[in-house]
Symmetry: C2
Subunit: 347 residues, 2 copies
DNA sequence: CTGAAAGCGCTTACAG
DNA sequence: CTGAAAGCGCTTACAG
């Protein structure tokens, strides 16, 4: 009789059913080679005891050692982009019978390394990483060992592993060119902190669009820093205090966009200063004016990355891929506020 | 020599270091009783081989059987409320050295049961559940077995387990009374589908506020259904098409609020019809008019629930608690649009 | 301080 | 079709 506080095991079921441990294993795992009678007795005993297979023990013994779980490393689970990605990852993994262990690094590179090791110690079958690190060589041994690994949103550095990301530079270029086309020459850029891949790429796209239009890139209207609402709002405030303030803004991140909009609204400039934000927001359509954005598809990123991981687990060969998901300019109003050079631009 | 594709084990480290398995275990777990020399040799070998302890195997053998992971069951990881909660849970768990397995039920009760069993099969140490089920008796055996379990946002039914939730009825009452105080008598309510605990409670609060003010509760301006932007928008549209449309709206859920605002804006009524939403939104302050909300604190819910679970795991006695986190009315503009009876109300 | 043996709950490999 | 034995990577309980 199993202890009331202990979870029943296969052995308990075997004893109750009057069969061997192995017969229970056969029935529980739907293997061939168990008579109808054995099957029924085992299922009855399992039912009576409330037996559930211990998957951790199973994973330990199985030849492939699969744990039916994958690790997802994010910078902040609470961020809308990250949570949309998390959702897509979980849906695909769940359909494959896997669970997702998601962690937040809080943008701390050391914490990221620790969390990765903790996930690996839990024997996750694969790793999806939105990394804030500048060096990923510490993952080389795991890669060599064949652990499927896909970097999401930002590619690895000093490590040859697959990536799924969006067309950051192209998207930023589109945003900036759009503002130029609407008559703006002095366009501010507010982006995430330097050395962050996505932010660097978006800066590149912004600068390229200016260059192509023959416009100067004034460092005075470029800000890079902590990507949250408060810092975005303060930075926007400082830009508006310039002797020669920008007439348009390209906000390089969803939280920065919120900060920018808050400042513009507080100063009553939301209908004068044009804004394009990178990444969509729930309420974008309902803003005044409705917010023009470069839409990314976090669901697609999560889905593609997770599918790649499971195709590797299913046996497809290991190749380093760099999948780029396109972005889309969604004009809604804020990005079409005319600038001082509109006549010339539309000529 | 361990296989290059196999993860090194304690045995591999022992062989390399020329000590016994148990000595490696002592060093790896920082137990007392290992000489300085043994310690150094083991650490050197572990370093050389890239050894990492297998926590799943460890949990299997340990007397307390702890897996250092907890399960979090949500309806939709991607929902802003859920992802804020998820984040708080993960932060507390991480500080306790635990990982979080988060799953989405997609509001499917059967899927919820399956996912709970999968989490239990993974030997999670505790369970946090935002449930869409109407009956939780299936969890009684686990509760008896001593698995710490806290229901978040919605209490369990037919099961005596702890809950952390917000003051739904009180919050809804505050919202409705606020609109009445600003001169509205015909106030619509749009809430999540019937039989969902939070939505039922919010309906109660809404009705109580009307009753207290001596106002009729017209079913024609009450809608309950799928809580997403699209359904919210359609429902709002239908309400506005009434011969006697409402002058104010209490939206009982964040996604419904977005739908309501979209419809009002499309019809150009966003400055005429007053709106209070349950649950805050990122861009609420930047709306036109800024959105008045009943703010809930998903971070506090997640934190309190997770802390309770870890205090149980640390040995504190099992008591069924019902923790209610207060809501807060945040007036920003949309809820203060005056109604036709304002003079009377403010008299 | 050190290590050989047993065993956590399961699967593998094999014999009947 | 059925089951006894070995072993996954680790900790426990114990002897030296």
């Amino acid at each position: 009789m199993p202890d009331r506080l202990r979870r029943p095991t296969m052995n308990d079921v075997a004893r109750t059913a009057g069969v061997s441990l192995k017969s229970v294993s056969r029935v529980v795992n739907d293997e061939v080679g168990a008579s109808q009678e054995t099957r029924e007795r085992v299922l009855a005993a399992a039912q009576a005891l409330g037996y559930r297979r211990n998957d951790a023990a199973r994973a330990l013994r199985r030849s492939d050692g699969r744990s039916a779980s994958i690790g997802l490393v994010l910078e902040d689970i609470g961020n809308p982009f990250a949570s949309a990605l998390n959702r897509a990852v979980e849906q695909v993994a769940s359909a494959q019978g896997s669970l997702v262990l998601a962690v937040s690094t809080n943008a701390d590179p050391d914490r990221e390394e620790q969390l990765v090791y903790r996930l690996l110690a839990r024997a996750v079958d694969a790793l999806l990483i939105m990394s804030c690190r500048r060096d990923h060589r510490f993952l080389q041994p795991e890669l060599d060992r064949g652990v499927p690994m896909v970097f999401v949103d930002r590619p690895p550095r000093r490590l040859a592993a697959s990536t799924v990301r969006v067309a950051n530079s192209k998207g930023a270029h589109d945003a900036t060119a759009h503002l130029i086309a609407h008559g703006h020459h002095r366009i501010a850029f507010l982006g995430d902190r330097p050395s962050l891949y996505t932010a660097d790429e978006r800066t590149r796209g912004y600068l390229r669009a200016l260059r192509e239009a023959g416009l100067p890139a004034d460092p005075a209207v470029q800000w890079r820093g902590q990507a949250d609402q408060q810092h975005g709002a303060l930075a926007m405030s400082a830009l508006l205090d310039l002797a020669d303030p920008p007439t348009a803004v390209f906000a390089g991140n969803n939280l920065i966009t919120i900060g920018v909009l808050a400042t513009l609204r507080r100063r009553g400039l939301h209908r004068q200063v044009a804004v394009v934000g990178f990444d969509d927001l729930d309420l974008a359509e309902v803003m005044d004016p409705p917010l023009t954005v470069i839409e990314q598809d976090p669901g697609a990123i999560g889905r593609l990355a997770t599918e790649q991981v499971f195709s590797r687990l299913a046996g497809s060969p290991s190749t380093v891929k760099d999948i780029v998901v396109p972005t889309r300019l969604v004009p809604r109003g804020s990005g079409e506020i005319p600038g001082p050079y509109q006549a010339l631009s539309l000529r």
